[in-house]
Structures are given as C-alpha cells and as structure tokens.
C-alpha cells in the first residue's frame, strides 16, 4: 500500500482501567501531514505515544511498513521523532550540545560524528554556537522548543510527531516555529489546540473525543463541523 503510517483497530486502556483509545483506524500516506484535534483528555498524546512505540495496546500499528513490536523498537525510535509538550522534560542533559548528541550516541555513533551531526542540526534549527554549552534552563521557551526539535532531528527520523508545539510560545516564537517546521521535509503529525497553526502545516485533520476517532477529513471542514474555531 505504501502508507507511511497505518493504524488498525488500535485500542488502549490506562493501568487504572480508563479507556484512552477506542478502536482507532487511520492511514497516513507518504509525504502527507496530519493534524490531530480534540478536547483535553481525548487521547491525542496517547496516540502519539503509540506511534513512537512508547506505549503499546491492542491492534496494529505500522510505521514505514514495520510493525511496532518490542523487537522493532530500536528501529521505530530511529524512524519516528516525538517532540514532547514540555520542552523542559525533553531536555534532560546538562548542556544543549550534549542533549542533541544524546540520540545519535544512543544510535551507536562514534563521539566525533555525533558531535558534528548535533552541531549541523542545531545550526539548521537556528540555534547559535554561543548556546551550545548552555544549560537548558538558561534558554527561552522558543529556544528550548527548537533545541528539542533539533534533538529529534539528529536521529534523522522519517516521521515527526509534535505534541502541542506552540505551548508557551509568544507570537514571534510561533511564527519562527512555523517557518522551521515548514522547511522540514518530513511529514508531521501535530496534536494541537492551535487550529490556525495546524492548518498552516496540514490540509488534513482527524478529530478525537474520548479516545474515539470521530472524523477524518479536510481541516477546514472538521473545524467547522465541531465548532473548533475559538474566535468565531
């Protein structure tokens, strides 16, 4: 079929019994981006965690033809990059450079190569050389977001997942992030409340509620159908 992402009847229950995902089926073609909309607690983040292999439930999840199973996890993590909502929780290493090197080092790269790749990626996302040795808590929200993206890009993923990427960003920060993401070739799956941001990056959207996929189509239509535009 050639679909980049395939979900068939994906269901997941939290350890305390609450149903987080309910029979989700969905396909994403090569080169196609997708917005994931829905109320808080509808399962958007959980869906992303399944796509990156961090959680596993019932049903089939396939990325690039490879099924997400324990034996494939290393490869899945190489192919799928997940940018978490709170950049502070993603930047856990002492300096910016070390954090971006974390992925490549775990992939088995020798030190010098990992360092070179990290520097390249950081330049690409617009982080200057003067920030490389900074500890993450000295960065602004926008810079942290970009470093987090860099850390993910350093693993050269085929698919980018972003969980509420505009959190804590001021309008210029949002604009800069939009330009950055537009320039990246990878298809993106963006879980967000920011409908305009999503529409600028993707034509297609799905709407989740209570773990169920209620609609799948053109983003403008979905927004109108569910009244998901905050200002009209």
């Amino acid at each position: 079929m050639g679909a980049l992402v395939e979900l068939r009847n994906l269901s997941y229950q939290h350890p305390d019994g609450a149903k987080a995902l309910d029979n989700i089926s969905l396909q994403i073609a090569e080169g196609e981006s997708l917005a994931v909309l829905g109320p808080n607690g509808s399962g958007k983040t959980t869906l992303l965690l399944h796509l990156s292999g961090i959680l596993s439930g019932q049903g089939v999840v396939r990325v690039g033809g490879l099924e997400v199973l324990p034996r494939n996890l290393d490869e899945i993590r190489r192919r799928v990059g997940l940018v978490f909502q709170d950049a502070d929780e993603q930047l856990f290493m002492p300096t910016v450079l070390e954090d971006v090197m974390f992925g490549p080092l775990n992939l088995g790269q020798p030190f010098q190569d990992a360092e070179r790749r990290a520097c390249d990626v950081l330049t690409r996302v617009g982080i200057g050389a003067d920030l490389l040795q900074r500890p993450p808590f000295h960065l602004s929200a926008g810079e942290k977001r970009r470093v987090a993206i860099a850390g993910v890009l350093a693993m050269e993923p085929q698919l980018l997942l972003l969980d509420e990427p505009t959190t804590s960003l001021d309008p210029p920060g949002q604009r800069a992030l939009l330009e950055l993401l537009r320039a990246l070739p990878q298809p993106k799956v963006i879980a967000t409340h920011d409908v305009h941001f999503a529409a600028a990056l993707s034509r297609r959207a799905v709407f989740l509620q209570n773990g169920r996929l209620l609609a799948d189509g053109e983003i403008g239509k979905i927004v109108e159908e569910f009244g998901w535009n905050p200002y009209s």
Binding site: E89, Q90, M155
Partner: protein, 233 residues
C-alpha cells in the same frame, strides 16, 4: 535561589574556564586540604593564599567583589560554631576557624563559578566516583530550578489568596508538597519516555575529556606545589 546565582558565571570563556576540569578539581582539593591542615595562619600565609585565589578569580574574569561578598555568607553559620569555640576559651582557634572557612568558601566558589557543575561531576566520574551517583546528581542539578520555581509559584499563589503563615498554613504546606510530589512523579515519567524515545539504553554517555595541554599540566603542578609550600612560608 540566591546562593546559586553565581553559577551563571560558569559559562563564560576564560583561561580558567577552559582549564581541564579534572585538574581544577585536584587543585581545589589540594588547596582546601592545605588550608585545613594549617594549625596557625601567619600574615604571609594568609596573604599568599588570598593572592592565589584572587589571581585565579581575576584570570577567570569573575566578579571579584561579588565573590568576596558571597563567601561571607558562610560566616554566620560558621560564626556560630566559632563563637562556641571562643566561649570555651580557645580564642585563637575561633578566629582561625573563621579565616580558614572564608578561604575555603572562596576557593569552592571560584571553582564552581568557573566550571559548570556537570563538568565537575564528569571529573569526579573520571576519578572513579560511581556512575549512578554522578548521573543522579546531574539530573538533580538539572531539575532543581524547575521544581523550585514550581514550589515558589505555589507559595506565591497561596500568599496571593490571603494565606497567612500560621496554624492553617501547616496543612496547606503539606498539601503543596504533595502536589509538588505528584507533578515531580509525572515529570519523571515523561522524562523517562523522552529518554526512551531517543533510544536510552541505561547509561547517560557524557563527553570524553580532551587530552591535557602541557601548559595546563605545568600550571597544575605549580598549583600543587604552592598548596604544599603554603605550610613552609
């Protein structure tokens, strides 16, 4: 976190900042040990020690006055002990303790101001401090300020809602800590997910040290000799 503000100086560029962290750690220990072993402090010794410290601070482009003032913060607590010693009649020992403590505090402050803590930890790791301890310490240092910020925000919110220090505050404080714990626990879960998402395998691999330039080795040797010579001045 007033006491930790000078740590921001640790990211500047200077010869002292560039100096190999392992050597800096060795020199710090040597200096503090040397001071600790002194049973008396002549004016010459005091002058030499102070001069060495100030010269290092100057070479590190550190704010001298700020450092000297910050080192004074050690004194109230130390002073209490020192007072006890004084009261027991050992005047000499009391004043000696005060001066030595000030010198040691200044030395530690200069070291930490010119070396990011993660580098110092990596140096300690080089000297065989257990890996798990080093990694946990790095993570603690990474998240102290984040969590303290949250604790501070909670306290501010409490005060903004008319919270008065007093009896009722006690149960509110327990509640705040419990909420802080919940958030911390969830944070740890997300951090773990973020680590796994980028292939975490159990060890946090850190930078390897470059080889030590000859000039730095010479300076370090000089420093060690100075620390020993302090006793014979």
């Amino acid at each position: 976190m007033r006491q930790a503000t000078f740590a921001r100086w640790s990211n500047q560029a200077s010869p002292v900042h560039r100096f190999d962290a392992r050597l800096k750690l060795l020199l710090l220990i040597a200096f503090v040990v040397s001071v600790a072993l002194l049973r008396s402090l002549s004016a010459v010794q005091l002058g030499a020690a102070a001069a060495a410290l100030l010269a290092t601070a100057w070479a590190g482009k550190l704010p001298l006055w700020r450092l000297l003032r910050a080192s004074l913060f050690v004194l109230p607590f130390v002073g209490l002990f020192s007072l006890i010693v004084y009261v027991t009649g050992d005047t000499r020992r009391a004043s000696l303790i005060l001066v030595k403590s000030y010198l040691s505090a200044l030395a530690v402050l200069i070291t930490v101001s010119s070396t990011p803590l993660p580098q110092l930890l990596a140096a300690a790791r080089f000297f065989r401090l257990p890996a798990l301890l080093v990694e946990v310490t790095q993570l603690i240092y990474r998240y102290i300020f984040v969590l303290s910020g949250e604790a501070q925000a909670m306290r501010t919110a409490f005060l903004a809602r008319g919270g008065q220090p007093g009896r009722r505050a006690v149960k509110a404080s327990s509640g705040m800590i419990a909420v802080l714990f919940s958030r911390s626990y969830e944070k740890a879960a997300v951090i773990h997910n973020a680590m796994c998402a980028r292939g975490f395998s159990g060890r946090l691999r850190t930078a390897e040290f470059p080889s030590i330039p000859f000039s730095e080795a010479v300076i370090a040797l000089g420093g060690l000799i100075f620390a020993a010579a302090l006793h014979f001045v």
